[in-house]
Amino acid sequence: MTALPRDPRGQSARDRRNTALLHVILIPLALVFLAPLWMMLVFSTHPETAIFSPAPPLWFGGSFGENFRGLQADTNFLRALLNSVVIASVYTVLSMLLTSMGGFAFAKYDFRGKNVLFGIIVATLTIPAFVTIIPQFILVARDLKMSNTIQAVILPSLANTIGIFYMRQAFLTVPTDLLHAARIDGAGEFRIFWQVALPVVRPALAALAILLFLASWNDYLWPLIVLTQKDSYTMPVALGTLVGLTRVSWGGIMVGTAIATVPFLALFLALQRHFVAGIAGGAVKD
């Protein structure tokens, strides 16, 4: 359908028919994709009796505050939210720093061992993260005694192979002449990286930052393993403790899921370009 010849004067009869057909298929499908999100938002504002009534609500109610208080009482949700914000922020900043420094080295320098090192990193790209979870747990919890700390959540995920690959691709687009000019002006190597190269790749960095933050924000399995005390829980772990129970406060859970999701839906609307660039950028290969 992308390929029909363009007609500057307007649509042919066949085009009009195809346009109609396309929308007849896509509109219901789009509604199906939006429905779970809509239910999540609506249910977060209703008491459980309304959610489970014979005619469930389709529009917002007034019980958000009450549901939130229930959720807070069950899980100390505010604490979990704070933990998640701190962990995701620190992780994003550190990971951007490490992967952009490493990506810069791989893209802009020739040095002994470069191809071997990069080869090893790329070779591990298709190894499932699952493989390392037990040694990581032993290292973090038993050897380093870090259970229930922020470091325990952040450290292992800093070994981000896709990030370094992505930043290398980004730095390859920076003209070497630009770096050389700075070098002639007497700038040190770190200053060249920080003040010359990094500003050039800012769009790629922004896209990566969004993806890193989101990945950390939504991570479940690893925090579930290393965080064992209620006060150290991240938001997904806190919510997970509720979902598995038989007696579940659904209004409260929907409040939690909405709080975890809505800021990103808003961000997504505002920064769609960066999200898309980040995801598409992961697919770009040499």
């Binding site: 359908m1 992308t2 390929a3 029909l4 010849p5 363009r6 346009t19 396309l22 298929i25 994709f33 999100l37 239910m39 999540m40 489970f52 469930p56 420094m101 490493g102 791989f106 802009k108 320098y109 020739d110 040095f111 470069k114 090192l117 990193i121 591990t124 298709t126 190894i127 499932p128 390392t132 037990i134 040694p135 747990f137 032993i138 070994a159 070497t176 002449d177 050389h180 070098r183 190597e189 939504n218 479940y220 399995l221 997904p236 997970g240 509720l242 979902v243 598995g244 939690g256 899921t257 999701t261 997504f268 609307l269 769609q272 999200f275 898309v276 598409a280 992961g282 697919a283 290969k285």
Partner: protein, 300 residues
Amino acid sequence: MTTTVSPQRAARARSRPRSPLAPYLFLLPYLLIFLSFWAWPIVSSFLMSFKDSRLGAVAPYGLSNWSRLVSDDFFGTALKNTLLILVIQVPVMLSLATALAVALNSRLLRAAGLFRFAFFAPLVVGTVAYSAVFRLLFNTDYGMVNRALHGVGLPGVDWLNQAGPAMTVLILAMTWRWTGYNAIILLAGLQGIPEDVYEAASLDGATPWQQFWRITLPLLRPSLLFCLVLSVIGTLQLFTEPALITNSGPGNATMTLGTYLYQQGFRSFNFGYASAIAYTVAALAAIFSAVQLRLFGREQ
């Protein structure tokens, strides 16, 4: 630049930092983390799969973890379930994502931004959050799905308490969550196909359908391969959805390699056996990746 220096030599001199240590210093922080939290654990996990880790003490153990895998019915169930989800969900999702990407790329589409938002929105929802929502949507007595079925005169389904329907819910949930993500990658691939290829084809009288099969799909192959490899690896590690939506049940009907590994590793603390399960996942990922590259990745 002086005229006496060849461009190649000049370029090489330019890329040279004043200190030869600079690239190593840039790489050092990342490499330290990479080696201790990624490269070494990969090796360590393999070694651990040959050890008996029960009762605290780690002692040499030989192949018993691996032979236990062969005779373990729970492992067999987890493996079978994981492969079943893989074989059904990944093709369904990638076909839908391809169709969506082509539709979203179409010049006939009005309000493309709205449609993109609708299909891409699920990708910012965390697995725990959407697992909770899907559990509620597919609740037998109160769920919206059964209510909708009743509404059109159909009987409801006891979704989460029967093996087949529980598996269906998992597959639907994963498809809802990940189709948009793959559609973005495929859309980027589509936009890399030059317009004039299509113009030439339609001048030659190729129908849109022929163009899709003869031009779009072949040229989209690298993007499709990327999506396929990522989806397969992701599915092999499936954990959150079966853990939270179906609780691996009913019985063990939706237990996956991921939930079984978690149970062995972090409920029974049998690290050696869990490592053998982990390496089974890795081996499967390696085999699938190799097969996919052979079948779909043309010579380089």
